[in-house]
């Protein structure tokens, strides 16, 4: 496998970075980097770390990071996670208020501990902390419950002062969205599986509307809706499929949709195959609505969506 750390890869321009990923030769990982500048979304680091955990340390080759901004990659813990010695000495500051370094979470109790410790690290206001905690909990729990991977979830997050936003990236190398959804549904492509996974009330654990005792099929819908209400980016990439909820203009009418393809979005089905699932979200803190109001708005859409699905099952009378 080959992956390149470019000079810029954020959710808005992520597509070109993903197209440069070469998934062939899965026993080896070669990491190259732009030698002038590296500015990447936490999702990029989570992806590389997730790939690294699937390869023997001896089979990972990482070219020396020449760019001054390469310190960021080191400070976020990528080389440490991959057992690659760093040739660059950096002064480590307390991470409080700025970032969450790469973290590997494999169990439910590890996740609970992580969320408890994460909130003070980001120095967030109470309402913002609820939103970020919600997103991390639901995304990582999806990995623990559905990804079927011994390597668990890789995640990291970064606060960006200029945009006053938190950017979060989570990656796994599990079975992917399509394999999970197809346990109960019939998605012909990875993109179709992503569409179903984002639809409220659809879960791979059952065909039944409303889910099982443990799964409702609402987690990803809620996260996409949180990003939508806050007018932020949300991406999900699995197999060849890629879906990106696009930012909404601040003055535009806000509407939550059950079908993710009715939202303002971009999508593609021809990316290099990612064996597993990657999710990224940006949360602009200025725009973060009070959590209770956020949930109320999402709930209305959820209820409407279920009613529509119920109506879709009604049979029509035959007038002959």
């Amino acid at each position: 496998m080959k992956i390149h750390l470019p000079n810029s890869a954020f959710l808005g321009n992520l597509d070109s970075f993903l197209r440069g990923f070469d998934p062939t030769n899965p026993d080896r990982l070669e990491i190259t980097a732009n030698d002038q500048w590296i500015a990447v979304h936490p999702l990029v680091l989570s992806m590389i770390a997730a790939l690294g955990l699937t390869v023997k340390p001896d089979n990972i080759r990482c070219e020396p990071l020449q760019a001054r901004s390469g310190h960021y990659v080191i400070r976020m813990g990528l080389l440490k996670m991959l057992n690659i010695p760093s040739t660059v000495a950096i002064v480590e500051h307390e991470p409080a208020g700025r970032f969450i370094p790469l973290t590997n979470i494999r169990t439910s109790s590890e996740l609970t501990t992580f969320i408890t410790e994460m909130i003070p690290l980001l120095h967030l206001e109470s309402e913002q902390a609820k939103t970020i905690g919600y997103i991390v909990s639901e995304l990582v729990r999806n990995v623990i419950e559905h990804a079927e991977t011994e390597h668990g979830a890789l995640l990291c997050a970064q606060y960006y002062r200029k945009s006053n936003s938190i950017r979060i990236g989570i990656a796994d190398t599990g079975v992917g969205v399509r394999a999970t959804i197809n346990k109960s549904h019939a998605a012909a492509t990875d993109l179709e599986a992503i569409q179903l996974a984002l639809w409220p009330g659809v879960t791979g654990t059952t065909r039944r509307e409303g889910g099982t005792a443990q799964n409702a099929g609402a987690g990803l819908f809620f996260i996409k809706s949180i990003a939508s209400v806050n007018r932020d980016f949300f991406v999900i990439y699995s197999g060849n499929g890629f879906y990106k909820l696009l930012k909404k203009p601040p003055t535009g009418r806000l509407r939550l949709n059950a079908d993710p393809f009715d939202d303002r979005h971009s999508k593609t089905s021809d990316l290099p195959f990612w064996h597993g699932t990657v999710a990224g979200v940006d949360i602009t803190l200025d725009q973060t609505r009070e959590f209770a109001l956020l949930v109320e708005a999402i709930g209305k859409t959820y209820r409407t969506a279920l009613k529509e699905r119920k109506r879709a099952r009604y049979k029509s009378p035959r007038f002959i």
Partner: protein
């Protein structure tokens, strides 16, 4: 029976395994003994929909929506109230919609 959620979940209730354990070890046995159950959310600032679903959705399958006459929610924050309303609504909504799908074993 009153169940102190904060004691089991902390200020952010998100661990579905904990929710399942509360449901199986505390709520259902109490309902089987014909006791009323009070879920006390004092100190719990927020929750995920997944947690609330794992906590109460199966009660609707077992006891129908009459379970709401026997289970009460105390000291909920606005965020927790919103999520409980969503789960309660969609569980009642679904009770009549999937009669064509055989029950799970």
């Amino acid at each position: 029976m009153t169940i102190d959620l904060f004691h089991k979940t902390g200020a952010f209730a998100e661990n579905k395994d904990v929710a399942r354990d509360i449901r199986l070890r505390d709520i259902i046995p109490a309902l089987e003994r014909h006791e009323e159950v009070v879920l006390d959310f004092k100190g719990v600032g927020a929750s995920t929909q997944s947690f609330i679903h794992a906590l109460i959705s199966d009660l609707f399958r077992k006891y129908g929506n009459e379970v709401l006459d026997r289970v009460a929610f105390r000291a909920c924050s606005d965020a927790v109230k919103s999520i409980i309303r969503i789960v309660v609504d969609y569980m009642q909504e679904r009770m009549g919609i999937d009669a064509d799908v055989p029950p799970e074993s």
